[in-house]
Amino acid sequence: MSTQTAAQSRRTGRFSGIWPPILIAVLFLAAWQIFVVARDIQPYLLPAPSLIVTNFFTDLSLMWAAAFYTGTTAFLGLVLGTVLGLVMALLASRFIVVNHLVTPLAAGLAAVPIIALTPILNNMFNITSRTPRVLVTMIIVLFPMFVNVTRGLLQVKPVQLELMRSMNAHPRTTLKVLRIPNAIPFFFTGLKVAAPLAVIAALVAEYFGGPQEGLGSRIASAAANTAYGRAWAYVVASIITGLIFYLVVVAVEKWTTPWTGRTRST
């Protein structure tokens, strides 16, 4: 396996790996800094990277707490939405009726501007608690998880189904032995979409009132106080939080499903 990856990187040559994007990023930041300083751009229009970095480090402990708060909301919503999505996908793949009932509903759910439901959920549940935010995140996570996992459970090769039939396998056995393992790569595809989305949802939900300790609240209040450097520093922290969510999923995927991303056997 390692020889294969080595061969792959050799083939793609010097333009692969993590250095090119880092170089691009550094060049971009340098250009940004030079532009802001040279043209004397005001921070409320566009703060210099140096200002953002300075703010980032002066606010680090608060920022950590804010990221932890929003991250916890995102994580809870992610777990709930994933579990619910999995249950729905299992039912939809098992019972064609459920599939016909639930799939249009899920599609409809995707069309709802769910974030816009936050004020309503804030009224329905305790606005001083985390609950409405977790619920919003959950609903947002639900859709990609449900759609992807359902696809994974249903998209098995006909020849594999014939094989299971030839072995006189009960549908429950086929689910366990064939459909669920087949759906695992799809599950991770969904999760890779859902995890950063959960962070965004948890963050934006904070714009609609409630406890003020999360990243979203901090961005809003910094901007309201014309502390643009600080607002941008919190944006950076939000990006990092979302990225961490994504990378954790990628790591778990690599670790649990070594067969994905390989040429599939026929």
């Binding site: 090769k157 020849v159 594999q160 014939e162 094989l163 039939r165 030839s166 072995m167 006189n168 396998a169 056995t173 032995v177 064939l178 393992p181 695992i184 499903t257 070594p258 067969w259 390989r262 040429t263 599939r264 056997s265 026929t266």
Partner: protein
């Protein structure tokens, strides 16, 4: 055959019809009045152009799809019962291995479904991998293997529960010629060692002749058996493919396949 206790034919197909969408506008008669008996230990090939129903016939025998009319027996049992009792193993053109399982655990799958213990399963799988000469690859993943090797794993899997009958649907169809010939020899060796009855679907004439005791020639629209060509090559070896008997067999099958237009007169089917 010397086996006295098998009073039944290995496979017995009687008056079998398979009609898709019967009664509707797009009705297709895939199989019409198929009669076929296979003796225990016999190697039968089904050959014919695309659409002649050879794969469908194999699937009906395996109860992967039902018959419209007629009956199928495997070792005296009806097809559904035979499937329940695991009286046959099957291999397809696609190896249909599960990527998430190692080679060994792919072979173990049928045994797992039978509820066999972990240790016995493992032992049996390793034994079978030895038979198909893949012992060194037991803990590899399917995608690390070549097409021919994957197909050998699929054959090992089809033999796992030690069924008396093997159904093979163009198992070497996707392989290159060299690999294909090697796999044919391998299959004959496995047959000799395991004494299985085999029904083998192919559209390669030399493959059918080389492997079979009997070649069943089919023709399409509607799918039916037109000829039966007995092959007597004796023990196969390196030189078999260059013998006159082999060429005679190939010619006989080719002519039978061509004799499609002549079948306006009642098809001459040999006494089975």
């Amino acid at each position: 055959m010397s086996s006295v206790q098998t009073s039944h034919q290995a496979v017995d197909v009687q008056g079998l019809w398979k009609i898709f969408n019967e009664g509707s506008n797009n009705e297709v008669t895939a199989l019409s009045d198929i009669n076929l008996s296979v003796k225990p230990g016999e190697f039968i090939s089904l050959i014919g152009p695309s659409g002649c129903g050879k794969s469908t016939l194999l699937r009906v025998i395996g109860d992967l799809t039902g018959a419209t009319r007629g009956e199928v027996f495997i070792a005296g049992e009806t097809a559904p019962v035979a499937r329940e009792k695991q009286l046959y193993g099957i291999a397809f053109q696609q190896a249909a291995l599960f990527d998430w399982r190692t080679v060994r655990r792919n072979v173990e799958l049928p045994l797992e479904l039978q509820g066999l213990g972990k240790k016995e399963r493992r032992e049996r799988a390793l034994e079978l991998l030895e038979l198909v000469q893949l012992s060194d690859f037991a803990e590899h993943r399917p995608w690390e293997l070549s097409g021919g090797m994957q197909q050998r794993v699929a054959i090992a899997r089809s033999l796992a529960v030690d069924p008396p009958l093997l159904l093979m649907d163009e198992p070497f169809g996707a392989l290159d010629e060299m690999t294909r010939e090697r796999m044919q020899n391998e299959l004959l060796r496995i047959c000799q060692e395991t004494r299985k009855t085999i029904i083998f679907v192919t559209h390669s004439i030399p493959e059918a002749v080389y492997l079979s005791d009997r070649v069943i020639v089919m023709s399409p629209r509607p799918g039916r058996i037109t000829h039966t060509v007995p092959i007597e090559l004796g023990e196969r070896n390196e030189d078999t493919r260059e013998t006159d008997t082999f060429y005679a067999g190939v010619t006989a099958v080719r002519e039978a396949l061509r004799g499609r237009s002549a079948s306006a007169s009642p098809p001459r089917i040999e006494e089975l």
